[in-house]
């Protein structure tokens, strides 16, 4: 291990932290908008350069020994429990680090245009830099505890950025919703980690770094906890954490609301990077999941259900960002399907392509919103093809990529996932996956058609966005178009040196044909069904279904009724009124005071100023003392 010591890694992390300090400490008055934007973007670029340098050094190592490590200091040392603040750079974290720094850099540049003139410009860049720092901590961590620090840190930055415009109570509460929902998942993650540590240490394993976990995980195979196989329970708890961070059923509700933040934030945090942390965690701990086939099945089914469910909700959303938000939930479902089917590399592949095309779509949406001066309702857009030609073209690339048009990045990754799911997950899951692909094509086409094609519906003139916004989009568009083709085999060979190029069987070709057909059918259907006449006819024909989907299956309302209301009731009546106000304030705090007061009142009667009585009490006291002495 010592031979792999690589001191460059810490600088990947240090650059965004320095950017955060610069923007956060100096702020608007001392640094100003322009210098702040440049410093923030430059910090990420430096980080990207270091990641690329590390990557090229990693490539020079022999494939079976591709690992670089950097230990900063001994973080926790308590008895036999010792954790280092250590980082690792292996193929998986290399891919993630490059995606995170690369996409972040583009989005930082985009933000300099998008956030221009905002009162909180420097605060925004400080948060964004801090987010990149924590995301890289998560990705490069060498043990689950350092990973957890990053995990919580990105959650914090997500909260800060969703509620960035905190003067608006609705946006501030969206931030809180995201934070609290994530907290529920994090509890599962933490319990899973503790269980893992407890079981390993009882087997005499005290180091928590990933290499040692991988080596010692088989020790847990036969252990049971509460009548469940230990790996299954641990994996389910960790997966629960992932459902929070990666917005899977049942904890997905925060992501659509998270769109309250600035659009580049939605692109970076709530589409390309942070929400994929759950998928990354599963891929990182794949050796644990491979011990727990039952947990894998749960992952597969939850992913499958979420992918379908969110895609259905996305069909009828009005807000352009909400469509993309549900699309993100749905695409993350695909990644979990892949992980559940044991195809972790396919999950990471889709993670990468999704980062490209979804970031592109979000930035495109941001450009449209920017051009329309803040309008987000798609039914008030239309005809933007002429007014925003660059955005139109770039967005078209993203649209075709996510719709699964052959040759573009989304096609390769989605097709691969569906193939793996067919092999390992069964017919039904595959069929739902294909149906979801058709729905995906439908809602993205609907978004595109309503926004850019159709006749103009709004007053006023939209303007094209500045170069600082369109150039990053162009870079992402190149990746969204060519990324799949360039990455497909190289990525697998890189992630898994033992990877063997699969033979393209006739079955695989048939599966591919079905999913492509589904995608094209979705596109075609969207063109027809979004015509005002057919849309109205369809709406009246299936009114109950329409309202069910339009109201997002009333999931928020169900949560409000089943979770939030009882929780509030218990908090108010039991915790607040009974325990806090009644027991703690009433009995303990005020009770103590009342007892002292009453005792004082009672004793004050004795001090009545009567000398003869004092003398009597004194005499009795002396007599008693004499009695005791003698």
């Amino acid at each position: 291990m010592e031979g792999n010591y690589y001191p460059l890694l810490k600088w990947i992390l240090a650059a965004p932290l320095a950017g955060f300090a610069l923007n956060g400490l100096l702020g608007k008055k001392l640094l100003g908008e322009k210098a702040g934007g440049i410093a923030g973007s430059l910090a990420i670029f430096i980080s990207f350069v270091f990641a690329a340098l590390s990557f090229s050094d990693l490539l020079n190592l022999p494939p079976e020994n591709r690992l670089l490590r950097d230990t900063l200091f001994n973080w926790i040392s308590a008895g036999s429990f010792s954790v280092d603040a250590a980082f690792r750079f292996d193929p998986l974290s290399a891919v993630m680090a490059l995606i995170v720094t690369g996409v972040s850099f583009l989005i930082h540049v985009y933000s300099t245009g998008y956030m221009k003139g905002d009162a909180g410009f420097n605060r925004y860049f400080a948060y964004l830099n801090l987010f990149v720092f924590f995301m890289l901590t998560l990705v490069l961590a060498d043990n689950p505890l350092v990973m957890f620090v990053g995990w919580e840190g990105v959650g914090l930055c997500s909260y800060l950025l969703i509620g960035f415009w905190y003067e608006d109570p609705e946006k501030a509460s969206a931030g809180k919703k995201a934070f609290i929902t994530n907290r529920v998942g994090d509890a599962g993650f933490l319990i899973g980690l503790m269980l893992l540590w407890a079981l390993l240490s009882s087997n005499g394993v005290f180091s928590m770094d990933f290499a040692s976990l991988e080596k010692n995980a088989p020790l847990l195979a036969s252990a049971t906890v509460l009548g469940m196989a230990a790996p299954t329970l641990i994996c389910l708890l960790l997966f629960f954490g992932a459902t929070g961070k990666s917005a899977q059923f049942p904890l997905f509700v925060w992501l659509p609301d998270a769109m309250a933040g600035p659009t580049p934030v939605s692109a970076l945090i709530h589409a390309a990077t942070m929400v994929t942390a759950g998928v990354y965690m599963l891929a990182r701990l794949h050796f644990l999941y491979e011990l727990a086939p039952k947990a894998m099945e749960v992952v597969l089914l939850v992913g499958c259900f979420t992918a379908f469910f969110a895609a259905v909700i996305g069909l009828l959303q009005k807000d352009i960002k909400k469509v993309l938000a549900y699309s993100t939930v749905s695409q993350l479902g695909y990644m979990f399907m892949a992980a559940g089917a044991g195809a972790f590399s396919a999950a990471v592949f889709h993670l990468a392509t999704h980062a490209f095309f979804k970031a592109l779509l979000f930035l495109g949406a941001g450009s449209v919103i920017h051009g329309m001066s803040g309008e987000q309702d798609m039914f008030k857009m239309g005809g933007l093809k002429k007014e925003m030609p660059f955005t139109f073209l770039l967005m078209a690339a993203g649209w075709l990529a996510i719709a699964g048009v052959p040759g573009l990045s989304g096609f390769y990754s989605k097709d691969l996932i569906l193939e793996k799911v067919f092999e390992h997950g069964g017919m039904l899951v595959w069929a739902v996956g294909v149906l979801t692909a058709a729905l995906t094509a439908f809602y993205t086409t609907r978004l595109f058609v309503l926004t850019f094609l159709r006749a103009k519906r709004a007053e006023g003139h939209a303007h094209e966005s500045p170069l600082s916004m369109t150039l990053p989009m162009a870079a992402l568009a190149v990746l969204a178009v060519a990324g799949g083709f360039l990455l497909k085999d190289r990525l697998f060979l890189f992630l898994d040196p033992a990877f063997v190029q699969p033979e393209h069987t006739s079955q695989a070709a048939r599966l591919m044909l079905v999913s492509v057909a589904a995608g094209l059918a979705g596109i075609a259907a969207a063109f027809v069904l979004t015509l005002p006449k057919t849309a109205a006819a369809l709406k009246s024909a299936a009114a109950p279904l329409h309202s069910l989907i339009f109201h997002k299956f009333y999931v928020d309302e169900i949560y409000a009724f089943a979770v939030i209301k009882p929780l509030k009731l218990v908090s108010d009546k039991v915790l607040f009124r009974f325990f806090d106000a009644g027991l703690i304030d009433g009995v303990l705090v005020n009770g103590t005071a009342k007892v002292s007061y009453a005792a004082g009142r009672a004793l004050a009667k004795v001090q009545n100023g009567r000398l003869d009585l004092y003398a009597l009490v004194f005499a009795i006291g002396v007599a008693l003392m004499l009695f005791w002495v003698i």
Binding site: Q607, N608, G609, R610, D612, A615, A619
Partner: protein
């Protein structure tokens, strides 16, 4: 008269003085009973203690008793002029 007689006289005198101190209401009488208690203690010193040492204490006690009588009478005169009474039960300023 036995060897115990002075001790018995001392105890009886102390008991009478203490009872009088507790039962009488007048401040002057209380001071007189206080003197009696001191004298009872003096008898006990002289009768029961080792020869020279306790006799020295007895002489010391005379001095203390005289000083106490002086201070006590001065206080009583001050109280009497302030409250127009010599009854201990009538002075109740010092209560909680």
């Amino acid at each position: 008269m036995t060897a115990h007689t002075p001790a018995v006289i001392s105890f009886v005198l102390f008991a009478i003085a203490a009872a009088g101190f507790l039962t009488c209401g007048s401040l002057v009488r209380m001071l007189m009973f206080l003197e009696l208690m001191l004298n009872a203690a003096n008898i006990a010193f002289v009768a029961l203690g080792p020869a020279v040492k306790s006799q020295a204490y007895a002489v010391l006690l005379f001095a203390i008793a005289a000083a106490e009588a002086g201070v006590g009478l001065a206080l009583i005169i001050a109280l009497a002029s302030a409250f127009k009474t010599l009854d201990a039960g009538g002075i109740k300023e010092l209560k909680g």
